[in-house]
Symmetry: C2
Subunit: 284 residues, 2 copies
Amino acid sequence: MSGDNTWFTEIFAPSGSAFGLAITKKLDEVQSPFQKIEMFETTHFGNLMVIDGVIMLSSRDNFLYHEMLSHPVLFTHGNPKNVVIIGGGDCGTLREVLKHPGVESVTQIDIDEQVTRMAEKYFPELCAANNDPRATLKFDDGIKFMREAAPESVDVIIVDSTDPIGPGEGLFNRAFYDSCRKALRHGGILVQQSESPLIHMPLLKEMRGAMLDVGFDALQTLLFPQMVYPSGWWTCTLARKGAAFNGFREADAAGASFSTEYYNVDVHKAASAWPNFMKKALLA
Amino acid sequence: MSGDNTWFTEIFAPSGSAFGLAITKKLDEVQSPFQKIEMFETTHFGNLMVIDGVIMLSSRDNFLYHEMLSHPVLFTHGNPKNVVIIGGGDCGTLREVLKHPGVESVTQIDIDEQVTRMAEKYFPELCAANNDPRATLKFDDGIKFMREAAPESVDVIIVDSTDPIGPGEGLFNRAFYDSCRKALRHGGILVQQSESPLIHMPLLKEMRGAMLDVGFDALQTLLFPQMVYPSGWWTCTLARKGAAFNGFREADAAGASFSTEYYNVDVHKAASAWPNFMKKALLA
């Protein structure tokens, strides 16, 4: 697939696999202080954002990831009013969160303003809610923001970051989880993208262990498809402070005033069904 | 990824996407009367079978597909004794079916004996049950076999075929479904792999329509991940004669005497949760 200019291919060395999309042209490129951001126009998946050679999202399939990082956690919390998004610069998660009428404030902290500037230009549909008066976009260090956050001031924290290398590295450790837990109110929930169940099991196990170590009371790892990420199968992990995961507001989800392409009540419930190999790896 | 010999890459033109696995060497190649079969050794996925340039299975992730083509249908039928597999030459589905102690006979009809010969050599674990006295392996035309099958003689038919082009083409139409329906006993179930929910929706819709047209009474399309197939997300569709899908033998599945890597009761139930975009496309 290399050797000509008609494909963008990401090689994922740790699993000896590669995924590519046919492209019609390169739309843009910027080297920010943190990373290199590239935009391509694909033949079948709309626009494609790539950061430091790693596929972030496409127009066509980002709904899977953004909906699963937003709606399960928000419909599990009893009454989420104050939400923080760490990362999330493409604003797709922010858009989903703002669909919930009960949410009173969303503060998004992405370290790299250039990601949002690129998203405004090439994924305008994801940025359509950025001017919602409930939303505040900060471009700063999310680790520092959580460390300095007022104790017990937040209901839901969504960590929508890159992989645990480069700028995302500090978002996958005890110190960060401890900051998040302190900032959450009783019953509050942290949710973080937690990579592929097929090829990142050691990382997932480590994340879950670190979340419990800092005092979270219950964990829930959800599975969902995500074509453009390694293995096409992805997870997010929820960690709750002071309560178990028994509060799914099913009637609210069923009667939601907004539309979704992937998420619904059945999908919500199905996402927590673990394959046997996962139970064996994580619960043994 | 081309230009050197260290990758096998499948380009899937209809969705402008490509998937590749790093390979250490080519193990074998045979041109049968029906198709070209290639075997590779990969760096991370064990052995890889490719037919006419299309990835069929790898050692590492075939369990997903084979378990989902076998256990949901067998635990949904009340008492499956006589099973027919059309295709399935790699014998992975056969192995799963034979795990069910209540199954009295399994007849597998793959048109290409070379697929099974290659599987015996490079996927011996999948062929470990081939000498089970309940199993009969025929190398013949599955379409003709079903056309000539005795009426009401079979409980479950599993169509484990390639895509609906080439040798697999005749397995995706009304004439074939009509033969299958006639061969099934009352309450019998046909299950067939039905491609990707993300990129093959028109085919899936057509299959389901044809199944209903020939008189099947109820359909159920299940979703599951399958890394090495286009989009990494796949489906199978069950069509039942004379009954609805209300008979999942949950206690039997929970107390199964055999082990599985993916399938369990929760996974079974989760597989029938449809995303909104799928409901919209198939039920509108």
